[in-house]
């Protein structure tokens, strides 16, 4: 099994946490991993992306070739569209629908949703609203991860274990909140795929 994933969002939205959780789950199963991150200037409210590649075989390139990504996971709707050239014909876009509007010329959100609707395989949900219902607005990225989880070909328990590990220093309450966020995202994706 191999999964090539583009993670997208705006600096500070938590794409690196998603990468860390998927990465932990993959390594626990003895898979190979390569992950390329963005540091520096672009973190100041600019668009950020990360290439995450996991595979049972040795991985060559640090960068995913255009047209070959299995998935784009985005915490922001406009950002989910920016990386479409990477998506393979059978690939999925999993995205938050809640805009992060920090630019004066942010496009009409309805038009953005229309464009997302044109992608053959996509899951779009308001992860901020879902996370808030659960009790932590900060867990929106984990809701998105939950929505991506059915497409990652890994046992659900592996994601749960990875969340317990990632948030182990934050206390049981934070772990439970994030597990609930994961499940809410997954349930949504299973109902809409």
């Amino acid at each position: 099994m191999k999964k090539d994933i583009i993670l997208a969002g705006v600096g500070g939205q938590g794409i690196i946490s998603i990468a860390a959780i998927i990465g932990y789950a993959a390594l626990e199963q003895g898979m190979f991993l390569k992950q390329s991150e963005v540091h520096g200037m672009s973190q100041r409210g600019g668009d950020v992306m990360s290439n995450l590649r996991i595979s049972h075989e040795n991985i060559a390139s640090d960068l995913i070739p255009f047209g070959q990504a299995d998935m784009i996971i985005s915490i922001e709707p406009l950002e989910s569209l920016r990386y479409l050239p990477y998506l393979s014909g059978t690939g999925w876009v999993i995205t938050n629908t809640r805009p992060f509007n920090n630019i004066p010329n942010y496009p009409d959100p309805e038009k953005i949703m229309e464009e997302i609707g044109k992608v053959p395989h996509h899951i779009a949900l308001d992860a901020d609203a879902t996370a808030k219902e659960i009790g932590s607005a900060k867990a929106a990225n984990i809701v998105i991860l939950g929505a991506a989880s059915p497409f990652l070909d890994m046992a659900y328990e592996k994601f749960e274990e990875a969340i317990r590990f990632t948030f182990r220093k934050k206390g049981e309450k934070v772990i439970e909140l994030n597990l609930a966020a994961l499940k809410a995202g997954r349930d949504f994706a299973n109902a809409h795929k």
Binding site: K34, S36, H39, G40, G45, L81, G91, N105
Partner: protein
Amino acid sequence: MQKLLLLGDEAIAQGAIDSGISGIYAYPGTPSTEITEFVQNSKFAHENHIHSSWSTNEKTAMESALGMSYAGKRTMVCMKHVGLNVAADPFINSAITGANGGIIVVSADDPSMHSSQNEQDSRFFGNFAMVPILEPGNQQEAYDMVCYGYDFSEKFNIPVLMRITTRMAHSRSGVTRLTEIRKQNDLKMPSDLRQFVLLPNLAKKRYKKLLKDQLTFVAESEVSPFNKYIDGKDKSKGIIVAGIAYNYLLENYPDRVVPYPVLKIGQYPLPRTLVEKLADECDEILVIEEGYPMVEESLKGYLGRGIKVHGRLDGTLPRDGELNPNLLAVALGIPDTFGLPVPDLVVGRPPSLCSGCPHIDSYYALSETLSKLSNGRVFSDIGCYTLGALKPYEAINSCVDMGASITMAKGAADAGLIPSVAVIGDSTFTHSGMTGLLDAVNDKSPITVMILDNGTTAMTGGQDSQAFGKIEDICRGLGVEAAHIRVLKPLKKYHDENVAILKEELAYDGVSVIIPRRECIVAIDKRIREKFKNK
């Protein structure tokens, strides 16, 4: 031993710690910063007293490292590519002095300029200095090369340059460590106490030795574990591929077998015999290298035969920018792959000053002060505040190199552009702004220098600023009159007051320094979180 999941930068740092370094010297700069930070955060490094605090600039870092090498200990010095320009004087001359304790200089290039003002290729600096260069292709190689590099440096008494790129620095993968961590060297003076004295008659001898050693370095490259000749059946093409580009090459062959003979380069100078072998066996050569066409140019020079060489110079690969698997597919005649086009409505989301950033208030005050004058008077520098060039501020007119704001403002004032303003950050000021300020004081140049003091090196992630608590003293010491050193609080509620002070100082016929002082809001946030975490 279990594999560690490390960034390329972290693999280099771990390699240095495991090779028994006694100190690491650096000034922060993307994408090199995490090397030094990894050592700073290492419990082992702390317990073993490995020096790791930040230097004032890359030149002082390089010189401190050379001093540590003089004293017989192993050391690493790290910088981004443009930092090597700042450190060029000691770097080039360190090749002549040679090393005593092992010394590795890591320079992190930024092809495609993700966070830089150019994409210069540090291998040219290595060639220019005539030192061996190591260029890792993956995180494991980065680790292994550091260990190898220290042995090389001590065996041949020569500093070794390690050249990495952004993708190498900031990509994460599994790394296996040495089974045995090496001890630090004992203090040991150079056997010849004049080795580091570059008086002309002594330097001439050292230079001849360096020239003679070039043959040794080539011979070492021929047998280096990092230069591999991998045979292929199809001799219509031979490929020379350097560093991380090897990964992109393999990506194009799902079974990881390249049909053509491949010479993978990880150590320079180029292994001449292996290059000749490839040229003898193949009809033409494709050179794949990240950065400038250095290998390609040198092949055209020294083969002296009719063989065709393809690469960045003939357009087979683009002349600029970072490589990727798709660009290589096209160069290799493999069908390219495409995804969906980016919809037309997608607009750019450039980085911007954070909401609540003190620089915003400083820029609004400055722009209002200058609003009655003609445009184009503000020379700025390298830092978060460079974002003041963008909308909605459009408050600055230059960003060239560390410290250039003050000296460019001075030059413009000398030319008659009065008033001229310099805008520089606290850390950039101590990095390379102080000497320029002295020039301005000595000439009594009519410039106003704004030193935006947010108490940290913000853009690279909030490292300690060497200027902290010292700016007024430094300015007074350099001769700026105390009455013309003015400290402001950059907040909206003091806007009118700040504009009034700026107006007074712009009217002054001499050097004035304005210090808008307020802590970086990201640094405050980080500080509060740390405090919360420790409770």
